[in-house]
């Protein structure tokens, strides 16, 4: 039965059952492609330790919404930290900016509060704080502790540097006239520039108080000072006594400045006193070299321009500058002593900006051509404290700005007391040079001879002889008294002498008129008649 055989023969057609694996394949492919298309970015976060991080368990959260999962935690290549690889949700892409912060949220007991208690049960998670930078990033450095301010909080973030040990640390408050307006966010020490760097945040309405002329100073703890008026104790709020704090304000006599950009850098002063001593932010360094003594010139001594303080002496650069001076050929002839000074334009009623700094530099550069010179003057005759005076000396020898190490030098001149002192010194030198010792020796010798003369027998008899002589003289004088014979004889002799002299006078008169009268008798005198003589 051929027809029956045809019915039972194996069919070669493709069974409809293949639709099932095809469907599974299509669905699988769809899932894979969909997953691949909607895959979130993969990022790496570097942490110091893997504390609380668990592969496949630790989540990334932003505003408590899951944003990703840590899928690998490993040591970094230097083996000094860990890198957490995180698979992020596609939604998170716009949050992953260059300055986005990541930190591990665990239970934390702070001075003022306890946070993250929920993580005790659920385990740690990584919190994300989106940054404000425009550039995207995929590798991040995790923060050690949560930023104290939410990333998008309104306000102003500033930087502060300090070169002194202070008790200000991260988390401390920033006060303005005693009112809390912000906080210190981070504190790091940079061994390169040897400065402590702070990041502070001023909350929204108060950031307008910050301008380019405000100064920040430390009000941590208690400051005790003693003076003529007794003890003086200064403190901030209780909080600042316990935990430290920073305050700011415009120093006395300084104008309000311009608004500042975010992340501007300010200097942290040690105290308000330090602010008053040094209220300006911009200044420039100069070097002045003196060939005479710098005794009495101490760091902090004023630099004045015609009596107006324009800066301070920073220090004497003797040690640092030695190599340079030897290069300059001063070796062996008594190198001049370089003194580093700091000049601040703010002190000259100029605005405390970089622009005025250039004005000052330019003025000094031009001024030196017109005789601007620095000199050292005695500020206090009692203590011998010196200061540096800058003035115009049109008669000064021509000089130019020089350089010393990395600083510009202002030519110096010797004036006033320094000059006077030199003259006095030279006079004293002359006096010193006199052969006083020899003179005194000779004198001594003479005195000895004199003594021997005085000691002589005949010298000692001299007064007796003198006495005798005086007595004899007195007897002679006594014999010449008006009533004595000698005196009367002398009187009459004088009278006859007078008469003789009168006769002699008439004779000399005749002789002067008529010298011949001695030989020829003279004619009787005729009264002169004017007519006759007129002939």
């Amino acid at each position: 039965m051929p027809t029956e055989h045809a019915t039972v023969s194996k069919s070669r057609k493709i069974s409809g059952i293949w639709f099932i694996p095809l469907l599974a394949l299509v669905l699988g492919a769809y899932v894979v492609i969909h997953n691949w298309m909607t895959q979130g970015p993969s990022i790496e976060i570097a942490f110091k330790t893997a504390d609380g991080l668990e592969e496949g368990k630790t989540k990334i959260k932003y505003r408590n919404v899951e944003m990703g999962l840590v899928n690998e935690v490993r040591l970094n290549d230097q083996l000094n930290g860990v890198i957490a690889k995180v698979k992020m949700e596609p939604q998170s892409a716009p949050l992953l900016l260059k300055d986005t912060g990541f930190w591990v949220v665990t239970a934390r007991v702070g001075l003022g509060n306890i946070t993250g208690l929920d993580t005790l049960l659920t385990g740690a998670y990584i919190e994300l704080a989106p940054g404000s930078d425009k550039t995207e990033a995929r590798t991040f450095v995790g923060l050690d502790r949560p930023p104290l301010t939410p990333a998008d909080a309104p306000g102003l973030r500033l930087k502060m540097t300090s070169n002194h040990a202070s008790s200000v640390s991260a988390g401390d408050t920033v006060l303005y006239k005693g009112y809390k307006v912000g906080r210190v966010e981070t504190m790091t020490f940079d061994p390169k520039d040897k400065l402590v760097h702070y990041q502070i945040f001023i909350d929204d309405p108060y950031h307008e108080l910050v301008n380019s002329n405000v100064r920040f100073w430390d009000i941590s703890g208690v400051s005790v000072s003693t003076g003529a008026s007794g003890f003086k104790v200064q403190t901030g709020s209780i909080e600042t006594i316990l935990f430290g704090g920073v305050t700011f304000g415009v120093p006395l006599g300084v104008k309000e400045g311009d608004p500042v950009a975010k992340n501007s850098t300010f200097k942290l002063y040690k105290s308000y006193k330090a602010v008053l001593e040094n209220p300006f932010r911009f200044g420039t360094y100069y070097v002045v070299s003196f060939t005479h003594t710098v005794k009495g010139l101490s760091p902090g001594a004023p630099v004045e321009f015609r009596g107006i303080k324009v800066g301070n002496v920073v220090r004497i650069l003797f040690k640092e500058g030695q190599a340079e001076q030897i290069d300059a050929g001063h070796e062996g002839e008594g190198a001049p002593i370089p003194v580093l000074v700091y000049v601040e334009p703010g002190r000259m009623e100029l605005s405390d900006t970089k622009a005025s700094l250039t004005i000052v530099e330019e003025t000094i550069r031009l001024g030196v051509g017109n005789g601007l010179r620095a000199s050292m003057e005695r500020g206090n005759l009692l203590t011998g404290a010196q200061y540096i005076n800058i003035d115009y000396y049109p008669a000064a020898e021509e000089a130019d700005l020089g350089t010393f190490m990395q600083y510009t030098t202002i030519p110096t001149i010797e004036t006033g007391l320094a000059q006077l002192e030199e003259k006095v010194t030279s006079i004293l030198d002359t006096i010193n040079a006199l052969p006083l010792a020899d003179t005194v020796a000779t004198l001594n010798q003479n005195l000895v001879s004199l003594q021997s003369i005085l000691d002589n027998q005949s010298t000692q008899e001299l007064p007796a002889h003198l006495d005798q002589t005086v007595q004899e003289l007195r007897a002679v004088i006594g014999s010449l008294s008006p009533n004595s014979d000698a005196a009367q004889t002398l009187d009459s002799s004088l009278l006859s002498l007078n008469r003789t002299l009168a006769n002699l006078e008439s004779l000399t008169g005749t002789l002067s008129r008529q010298p011949s009268a001695v030989i020829f008798p003279s004619s009787p005198e005729v009264d002169p008649i004017p007519e006759v003589t007129a002939q």
Partner: protein, 208 residues
């Protein structure tokens, strides 16, 4: 072997799939129970192969995706099949881990491989070890349903462990996929006609 009695197929007799009644092969309906009758299962190899491939495709995500979510005090933790096994070993429950490993990982994959081997050997009409292959098929068919143990564990846990915020267990997508793998391999085994293993032997015999 030539002394073997003639087979049903040789005698143009087919067995009903349902009630196993022997009837002439050209009768397309069982004269006793009325179900469709074929000499051999219809498209047996193709169907088995297609279902095996489907099961393979499902087996991949079933292992990659979490089979179960443990939500304990707010921290949800997903566990895959292998992850669960590793977790159990780490927790010291090696016997339980072994059971789950055998029935959830070893058995399904062994079954898939065995079925592929059977389909392949029948397709090329291999004459080797027919008896052993037959035994393999029987074991496969028997053991296959035990793979559902894992699914039962998950379903029972999901049903029982609902302690509110303290501890909650929820099934994952892999549970569904895994159940699919087990079911589809069972259907595949069902669709495989073990008689095909012996068919060409008789041809060989008859050729002899």
């Amino acid at each position: 072997m030539s002394d073997l009695p003639a087979t049903a197929a040789k005698s143009h007799l087919a067995a009903c799939h349902m009630c196993l009644k022997l009837a002439p092969a050209d009768v397309h309906q069982c004269p006793r129970c009325g179900s469709a009758m074929h000499l051999r299962k219809h498209d047996s190899l193709q169907r088995t192969l297609a279902l095996l491939i489907t099961a393979c495709l499902l087996y991949i995500p079933a292992n990659l995706y979490p089979i179960m979510y443990t939500d304990s005090l707010g921290s949800a933790e997903a566990s895959t099949i292998m992850g669960g096994v590793v977790l159990l070993i780490n927790l010291g429950s090696a016997p339980v881990a072994l059971v789950i490993f055998i029935f959830s990982v070893m058995v399904p994959s062994a079954k898939l491989m065995a079925m592929f081997y059977l389909v392949w050997s029948v397709q090329r009409q291999s004459p080797i070890d027919r008896r052993k292959r037959s035994t393999l098929y029987r074991i496969t068919e028997f053991v296959g349903k035990w793979s559902m143990v894992d699914i039962f564990v998950v379903t029972i846990l999901v049903a029982l462990v609902q302690l509110g915020g303290l501890l909650t267990i929820q099934p994952g997508i892999a549970a569904l996929l895994f159940a699919g793998v087990v079911t589809i391999t069972m259907i595949a085994a069902e669709n495989f006609d073990s008689r095909l293993i012996w068919d060409n032997m008789e041809e060989e015999n008859s050729a002899n």
